[in-house]
Every structure is written in C-alpha cells, then in structure tokens.
Symmetry: C2
Subunit: 308 residues, 2 copies
C-alpha cells in the first residue's frame, strides 16, 4: 500500500496516544511495533470472520501462513527489485565456539555483532500470497483456482502512524488462472470488499492506486501501474480525511507470479493472478476511529457482523 502523499503526523500521534491511553495498543521501543490487547485482537478476529463469510463457498479451504517464508520463494517473487527498502532478511549464527566468543566480544564492546551472522533459509513474509505460488507450479485447470489465506507480513517502514505497522496481517482471496478470470476476480472482489466494509459502516471509497516501488525506476513503474489501472485500493479516513488510508487493495498481477513459478493455463500460457487483500489491523483501526474506542458501544449491526 502506497505512502500517503500528505502524511499528517500530528493527527497520527494523537490517534496513537488515544489507542495507547485506552489500553488498546501498547508501544514498544520501535515505531510501528505494538503489543495488542485482547480488545484489539477480538476486533481482528471479528474482521477475519466477516472476511471469511464474504467469501463463503468461493474459494478452496483456508490456509494460514507463518510470518516467515523460504528465501528461495522470496527471490522468485522479484520483490527485491521493486521494494528493497521494505524487506526483512533473516540472519542466524552457524559458527563454532570460537566464533561465538568473538561475536560476544564485539557485542560486549557495543559493536555490530551481526557481521558474524549468516543468511538463513528464511525471510520475513513480504505479502500474504507469496508463499502460495510455489505450491501451484504446473498446469491450472480451465477456469483457474481461487484461494483463501491469511498471514503476517513485514514492511520495514517505521512510522508514528498506528496504521503503518511493521508487522501486520493480510487476509486474501487469490485467483490463479486465465487473464479474464484474474480481471473478473479483482473486479468482483472490489465490489464484494466494498460491500463488506460498507456493511461495517465504514465510510469507504475506491481509488486507483500504485505500489510504493523503490527509486527512480520505481517512479516509472508506479506511473505505469496507475495508467493501466492494475491496482485499486479501498480507502477509509483514519488519521486524515484528505488522505484516507488503504484498508484493502485489489490487484491484477498479470503473469508476474505465473511466469517465475512456472504456473500455466491449460493452453500452456503463463497463468495470470489477482488478489484482494484485507489489512486486518488497518480495518480494526478504521473501526475504532469510526465507531469509537469502546467496541461494546458500536452499532449493533456492526457488532453482529463481526461477532455473529
């Protein structure tokens, strides 16, 4: 999800303080990393249940992914090319007793002990649907397949905005198959997603959007993505009416995943894919902003939708 053009740090700090004072989130030593209360987690689980109900009968059995994914899979997604500043690569220690003693000496002297580490075979999950694709290598049936999944994602973008967490969950519906099927999935789920979020009485809107591609080349990629209307966001005011926050996004990936993961349609072409991702923490925050910090007092129609 793209950074807002006009961030409003004062409003962000005020809302963050309100959440902390109400005991809904607690800050850690790092911006964008929070301890969450049961109240917050219950809202997240309610949104999960509502997202699940909205897709009832429309996808294969749900998958839950862990917060990590294989490095080999990450490398095939090409995420490193587009979003290097957001990644989280995991290092560990594989040395001897002697190496360990040297590492500790560096650490004790306040030095950079991570120099002694080695890249592990895992990285932090970059997007909830990335771990799915390697399991699909091969030929898709005619009409494609639709998946429902959820997982923790990482974005290295420390911010005072409570809606810009470094560690957060996406709930996704993903289609893999023919190009037409991908577009149809994206468009029908935009409608369905907007209905779902509207039924939670959130003042949502739909906008053409672009991903926060890195650097000079990235600016061209972003402009191109916007021109070709591949990505839409469902936005809702959280800390700014002028710059509402993306709480869901729906994208056509073209053959961006089909090609590297060798997924083809029945006629042998690289499969296309598309997904809608609901940002569970952001929807929870939008609900708290819109309906107030005490879920017991939310409109009964919203409560019954979240906690049937």
């Amino acid at each position: 999800m793209a950074a807002n053009a006009t961030d409003t740090p004062t409003a962000q700090l005020i809302f963050r303080d309100e959440l902390v004072n109400a005991g809904i989130l607690a800050r850690s030593a790092v911006d964008g990393l929070y301890h969450r209360s049961r109240t917050f987690e219950n809202i997240v689980r309610g949104v999960e249940a509502a997202a699940s109900a909205a897709g009832e009968g429309r996808a294969e059995p749900m998958l839950y992914f862990p917060p990590l994914m294989p490095r080999s899979v990450f490398e095939l997604t090409d995420y490193l090319r587009s979003f290097p500043d957001l990644i989280g690569s995991v290092d560990t220690f594989v040395g001897s007793d002697r190496d360990h003693a040297a590492l500790l000496q560096v650490a004790d002297e306040g030095g950079d002990w991570t120099q002694a580490l080695t890249p592990s075979e895992v990285v932090l999950c970059s997007a909830a649907c990335h771990p799915l694709y390697p399991s699909l290598t091969g030929v898709m049936p005619t009409g494609g397949r639709t998946f429902e999944l959820q997982g923790y994602c990482f974005r290295h973008e420390p911010s005072v905005d409570p809606a810009r967490m470094q560690s957060f969950r996406q709930y996704e519906y993903v289609y893999v198959g023919e190009p037409d099927g991908a577009t149809e999935h994206r468009d029908s789920w935009l409608d369905r997603g907007q209905d779902l979020l509207g039924s939670l009485k959130l003042p949502v809107d739909r906008v053409i959007a672009n991903d926060p591609f890195f650097g000079r080349v990235g600016r061209m990629l972003a402009a191109n993505q916007k021109e070709t209307a591949l990505k839409f966001e469902i936005v809702c005011p959280i800390t700014s009416d002028q710059s509402p926050t993306a709480i869901a996004s729906a994208n056509c990936h073209l053959d961006h995943f089909g090609r590297p993961f060798s997924i083809t349609t029945s006629d042998g072409e690289p499969a296309h894919s598309a997904c809608i991702g609901f940002g569970l923490e952001r929807i929870a925050l939008a609900l708290l902003k819109t309906h107030g910090l005490n879920p017991d007092r939310w409109p009964s129609g919203v409560r019954s939708r979240l906690w049937p």
Copy 2:
C-alpha cells in the same frame, strides 16, 4: 525446549506425511515451516481458549505480541550468549538507487545479495515473554504481578520433526516480583498446566529439563540448570514413546530479566521472574497424535474443553 537425546527421524517423517496427507499441514521448501489448515488453526485456537480459561482471574489483561521485537530489547535478554544458533536477526536495505542496482546485479549473478543489507531495529521474537520485560522497568508492587500473553517465536532449528517448527506460538503466564512468588508461580502453574493437558486426555508427564545452551560453556550451564531444578517440562509422546516431546515448560529465571531491565522488588532487590509457556502448535500435534487426525471424532470431553 531441549532437543531430544534420541531423535527418531523415521517416526517423525511418518507423522509428518500423515499430517500432510490428511491436509492438516502443508510443507514448504524449508523444513520446519508449514502452511496450516483451518483444522489445525481451529485446534490452536481451542488450546488458546483452554489455556485462557485455566488462568481466568489469575493474571492482568491478555497481551498479544507480534512476531518481531526491538533489537535493543533482544540484546538485553542475553539470548545471544546462550542460544546464538537459534536467533533470527532482521536485515533490510537502506541504500541508494546505485546501491540497489549493485545489489540486483549480485542477485542476478546468483551471489549473496544480503551483503548489501543493514541490520534493522528489529529481530525475530526469541521467546514470547521477552518483549514484556522492558515495559516493567521500575519497582514491582509487593506480591509481584502476573501477566498472560501470546506470540509467535522463532527458533532456527530446521528439522523433519513436525513438532520442531521454526515459527510457532507460545501462550505464557509470567510472574515478576519476589523470589518466593516466582517459585510459587512456577510450581502452581506446573500443576495447573498438567491438569489442563490431562483434561485434554493427553498422556503427559513432568520432567526436570534444561535449555539447549550453545557450545562448551553451554553444556555446563545446562548441567547446572538441571542440578538446580530451575526448569521443568510437561512432556507427551508425539513421535516417540521413549523421547516424549515437551509441550509446555515452566521455568524460574531468577533475576535473569529483573537485573538487565532494571525491575526491582519493593525492597530494592532485582526482581525475580518465572513463566509457564504452552507450545500451541505442539499441543495441537499431541492432540492429533493421541486422538487421531479427525477432530470431529475426538472424545466429547476434549472437544467441549477446546470449543466450549
């Protein structure tokens, strides 16, 4: 939790295959990293609910931690000294367009592109209770405080054993206060934990244990920990009757956290702490092993305990 003295890889592979064939877990390209089905996640959530009920009225409001924690907090836990081989340090990219181009060239040539990364301000969570301690710096009330919390932990120990995941959740009750209070917490929760797991009809046992301290010095630390009976595990056969798996563990930390995080008792001494941690994925696997791969057919007393 310590590695078993006699691992039984054949039985582990067989059980892993059974779980995969039943659609309960799906393998990824990395050992110890699984996609989880709704069946598996529902069991985990049932165990969460049972662990919560067992501590009803005994702790402050529940906290949920994200899979990451501040590096500054990790450094104070001294985990790097004891378990360097298990850690996950998170690197990211903070360079320029030119640096990025160089990184991509290395990646495209199959080289180690992680050399161009920089340590971020976060690491993977080493134990569920670690993020708690910095919030307690100061003086504890007489009698101490008890916390209930949950979070994803990382251990770099790739294994074919489905019960040795790299990414898993711990549900903990943590005490911080006087030394006597810490011992009492550990002992009473060992009883309560054994009752809870027994009520799920798991054939559990209680054993004195040690953490898997690293290297030569670690062997002495482990022997000392066992001699002084600081750590107990509640174990249950999963892939071996001879080497049952730890599915919960309860430890006295002495002042291991009180001292570095400057937490004191009311008389100014470094606070002691103790915790019980329930391994949610391991308990789920113990249930699947003991009662079969179809939770619909589990004993009704077990089902009503998990899904009241």
